[in-house]
């Protein structure tokens, strides 16, 4: 049986682990288009003066902001949900990839494991084929005990190789968005 001390790191919520991992990697700029599931993370980032975080009108815009920030010496991440990712192929193909930007995307996965909105289900099916067609590294994070390792290593790899990466947060990790009727 694990002692209390050993168990302590696992008591952190997924959003606290993400926040800590971003800080450890000096990721300060965090524009987002909001998502219900990401709300605790977004709230934590707003409350922490380490981060410059704000809503943009579109995900493309957030990608542009993070690209400018990176080129000027500030690391960033874009927070979004699945349907927001689906608006991005053109700017991934014409900005992030050819200019070799280490674009870090954190995507709350909607459209699966109990989705109630058919539009979310349909658009979710496009996400991984788009990532694969552009050869963008991506990981679906379903387990709490793997979150920190995957996020930390993926951020470091993106920066070292100047390549985008997508971290997809499964409802298995976050609980997703549920409905009662």
């Amino acid at each position: 049986m694990a002692s209390k001390d050993e168990a302590k790191p696992n008591t952190r919520g997924w959003h606290e682990i993400v926040q800590d991992t971003l800080k450890r990697n000096q990721i300060k700029l965090a524009p987002y288009v909001p998502d219900r599931v990401l709300t605790p993370l977004i709230r934590s980032l707003h409350e922490d003066p380490f981060f410059t975080t704000f809503a943009t009108a579109r995900e493309e815009e957030a990608l542009g902001v993070v690209t400018g920030g990176w080129m000027a010496g500030m690391r960033g991440i874009v927070l979004m949900q699945t349907s927001g990712f689906a608006t991005l192929p053109n700017v991934l193909a014409s900005l992030a990839l050819p200019y070799q930007i280490p674009l870090i995307m954190l995507i709350s996965e909607r459209g699966t494991l109990g989705e109630f909105n058919i539009g979310q289900v349909m658009v979710c099916r496009t996400m991984r084929p788009i990532l694969e067609s552009l050869a963008i590294e991506h990981h679906t994070i379903a387990r709490h005990d793997e979150l920190e390792f995957i996020a930390d290593r993926s951020i470091k790899q993106a920066i070292a190789t100047q390549s985008p990466v997508a971290l997809i947060l499964s409802p298995l990790l976050t609980g997703g968005k549920t409905f009662t009727h």
Binding site: G68, A72, Y99
Partner: protein
């Protein structure tokens, strides 16, 4: 507040205005050139390492400039954008108006058309007024350039005072005679070194 777009602002040359803008830049200001003729005329004014040239990602000159401005608050940053491009991403003006970065300046070259795709009219040919839109988005320092000297005066004021600011200019339908180099990695690397983000 004066009315937004004057009835008959002078129709000017994009290349001429871009030259006048660049001539005012004495402190390694960063310039983000939006796609198409806007970019090409920026390229035609010389090879400043603080210039960034886009391909594709239409509409993102202002968001990219905003990112640079947030990361380097001590440096003035200018987004050079065309009317069609800005119409594609108008929401970014609301973000600029909300954040109010003091070091960000936006210049809109408005010829009322998608010149490079065949001169189809944009909404700004008839109704859309970028200065009125900018003010409505919370960018109070937004003005139309009435003629070349007025443009220079607005640029000088924007560079000397706290932003954000937006300057709109009516320009003619002439395409640029230049094209940028087509090596995005090279453009990005040179820009990062030009603004001190990379040694």
């Amino acid at each position: 507040m004066t009315s937004a777009r004057p009835n008959a602002p002078k129709v000017m040359s994009r290349l001429e205005l871009t030259k006048r803008l660049v001539a005012k830049l004495k402190h390694d200001e960063a310039v983000i050139g939006g796609i198409g003729n806007t970019n090409f005329d920026l390229w035609a004014t010389g090879r400043r390492p603080q210039n960034f040239y886009m391909f594709g990602s239409m509409g993102l000159a202002v968001p990219i400039a905003l990112g640079v401005a947030l990361a380097q608050p001590q440096r003035r940053v200018i987004a050079l954008e065309g009317d069609g491009s800005l119409l594609m991403q108008l929401g970014c003006l609301t973000t600029v108006g909300m954040l109010k970065p003091k070091n960000l300046m936006i210049v809109v070259m408005d010829n009322g058309m998608y010149q490079i795709t065949g001169a189809q009219p944009t909404a700004s040919a008839q109704v859309a007024d970028f200065v009125g839109i900018a003010r409505g988005c919370g960018i109070a320092n937004a003005d139309w350039a009435l003629e070349e000297a007025s443009f220079e005066g607005l640029v000088e004021r924007a560079l000397a005072t706290e932003g954000p600011s937006l300057i709109a200019a009516r320009i003619d339908a002439k395409p640029s005679d230049a094209t940028t180099e087509r090596d995005p990695a090279q453009i990005r690397d040179r820009f990062m070194r030009g603004i001190g983000a990379k040694q």
